[in-house]
């Protein structure tokens, strides 16, 4: 039975955190139990901010099952969790599941999609979300796009924004993206953080974590505190999320001086940066390699050879995301979470 009011979709990638970086770096675990727990914290926050309905896809690793079970318990009732509607979609256990779930959520008119995953997951959701804003939570290996933030506070921000209590101009941020075009393969893909060009000829196990496997990095934004390939730009020529340009660096394994950068959790590599510069929006940049692979947000996806002419273009009009800090700062300034004592377990209403 559909409740009136905004619906929020939640997508937690069951597959994130099981790739090659477990072997090559000290990437940790983010188990299905942890993901289910994060979702429950989101639901508590949504409950407190008046969200009455949530869409959640099913999965094979027990995340949705654990959340469903918890939703019948006393804490869910006390915290007024939103009603859970399961999206029962055919599961292929690939990224196609993420994309299908996002597409369905947009079709059902969700006000926002909360995403639990790494850069790859966020990229997949963003590809389908259009202008539906994302509430980003990091749980994957490379987390440059989603901020490292606790689910409860993210949920409060998301709930306040989705229930209309925050002006969009304050609560939403327009993100940059990189468009990767390979006309000879009829490919046009996005990256939300960076595109790395690798001399590795094949997609292989996807993850890249060695400096000798990198020739060039193009970044939408590059924060000095980031983990992942954008950290090379972040520690050499940082660019903020807000700046209307990006950055690029070129690497050479024979450089005598190297930049120590955390390319994966626990993995600091010496990267020989030989050139760098700004990435101007709307300009199609060619690559410095004639053949190799392109890694979008940390995972090799595209193999290109002599006959291909891939280009990278910065687009300032990428996906929308919730600016959690701005939302909560606004909520604090305006005491949005102050309610009468006897209504403290009732969702906060619009002032």
């Amino acid at each position: 039975m559909r409740q009136p009011g905004p619906i929020i979709g939640i997508i937690a990638n069951p597959a994130s955190g099981r790739d090659l970086r477990r072997l090559t770096a000290n990437a940790g675990l983010y188990s299905s139990t942890d993901k289910a727990s994060a979702i429950q914290r989101l639901l508590a926050a949504f409950g407190a901010t008046g969200i009455a309905q949530v869409l959640l896809p099913t999965d094979m690793t027990g995340i949705a099952a654990a959340v469903l079970k918890a939703s019948t318990g006393p804490m869910a009732r006390e915290q007024r969790w939103p009603a859970l509607q399961m999206l029962d979609l055919p599961l292929t256990q690939t990224v196609a599941d993420t994309r299908l779930a996002a597409r369905q959520m947009v079709e059902q008119g969700v006000a926002m999609i909360a995403v639990l995953g790494g850069d790859g997951t966020h990229k997949a959701v963003a590809a389908e979300a259009g202008d539906t804003p994302l509430l980003t939570l990091s749980t994957g290996t490379n987390n440059a796009f989603p901020e490292l933030r606790e689910a409860t506070s993210a949920g409060l921000a998301g709930g306040l924004l989705a229930s209309g209590q925050i002006p969009a101009a304050i609560g939403l941020r327009r993100n940059k993206r990189l468009l990767v075009r390979v006309p000879q393969q009829q490919l046009c893909e996005w990256a939300l953080v960076e595109v790395a060009v690798s001399p590795q000829r094949f997609v292989g196990a996807r993850a890249l974590s060695r400096s000798e496997d990198l020739a060039e990095v193009f970044a939408c934004f590059a924060e000095p505190h980031a983990i992942g390939l954008s950290a090379i730009c972040g520690l050499w020529c940082p660019v903020s999320r807000q700046a209307e340009q990006g950055a690029w660096v070129r690497l050479d394994t024979s450089a005598t001086q190297v930049l120590l950068a955390p390319l994966a959790p626990g993995l600091l590599q010496g990267c020989g940066v030989t050139a760098s510069g700004p990435l101007q929006p709307g300009v199609a940049y060619p690559l410095s390699l004639r053949s190799g692979t392109l890694a979008l947000d940390g995972e090799r996806e595209i193999e290109f050879a002599e006959q291909d002419t891939p280009t990278i273009t910065l687009d300032l009009h990428g996906p929308l995301s919730v600016d959690v800090e701005a939302v909560l700062a606004h909520a604090a300034r305006h005491h949005l979470l102050v309610v009468p004592r006897d209504q403290r377990h009732t969702p906060a209403t619009l002032r």
């Binding site: 690793t61 094949f202 053949s291 193999e303």
Partner: protein
Amino acid sequence: MSTQLSSEQLLHAYEVMRTIRAFEERLHVEFATGEIPGFVHLYAGEEASAAGVMAHLRDSDCIASNHRGHGHCIAKGVDVYGMMAEIYGKKTGVCGGKGGSMHIADLSKGMLGANGIVGAGAPLVAGSALAAKLKGRDDVSVVFFGDGASNEGAVFEAMNMASVMNLACIFVAENNGYAEATASKWSVACDHIADRAAGFGMPGVTIDGYDFFAVHEAAGAAVERARSGQGPSLIEVKLTRYYGHFEGDAQTYRAPDEVKNLRETRDCLLQFRNKTTRAGLLSAAQLDAIDGRVDDLIEDAVRRAKADPKPQPADLLSDVYVSYP
């Protein structure tokens, strides 16, 4: 560690996979004639796993396998004709006709045997890795087991011991989605076999087993880890078997056209050919030449195996022991 392969290495990888494919496809045909005794369990479809892992191993590294072991044997360098003769139960077989398809072994090549007991190979490679450790060598040991065997206590015990004793072991779970007629989606509680690794104190990764390069990279990282004394790891390779659990299994538990679709869209040999030719690293002519050579090899092996003599009555009683008494 670079994972760039030279043309020789690429050609060798293709030849290994193609040999396995041709061997298994031929067995599928020959088995139907009724001339091959007992059971065979075909590896067709899974070639990238064997080839991707074995590319990193030397003769002194050990592997143990299971009932679906022809691919592992071929990739480890066991003689193809000797294997075919063994499957036909002939005296010229690599085990003198006394082992058969499920017990092909060649200890000189570090192949501790195909095994009729799934999961039994895991403690055995913990043992060969222990031996290497006691001898002060950096040889590694790899066990191949399936999604069904991943639920056997032998695998759990070996994984725990390998971590506790810091052994140079690699556990390769070839998850083809089916343990006989039971889907791994049902029988593996945590759904991803790789997730069990953390419970046994080692890293676990899930890899696309249709892509030789994905397996090769992950195996390379695991082998390097093991050789440098950092201990065991688990690689879950997701792939498919084209044929039934055994020859004669009608596979009614699978969706119709499931195998056909996979052969057409994800086949590991097709992917390898497409990637390497598109990248300009190998030519179609080179790959076709290998195809021809492999076809001749298999044809020769079958012809000779069919013609070879069976073991003699005296062979029944020999080699129960090394020494009598």
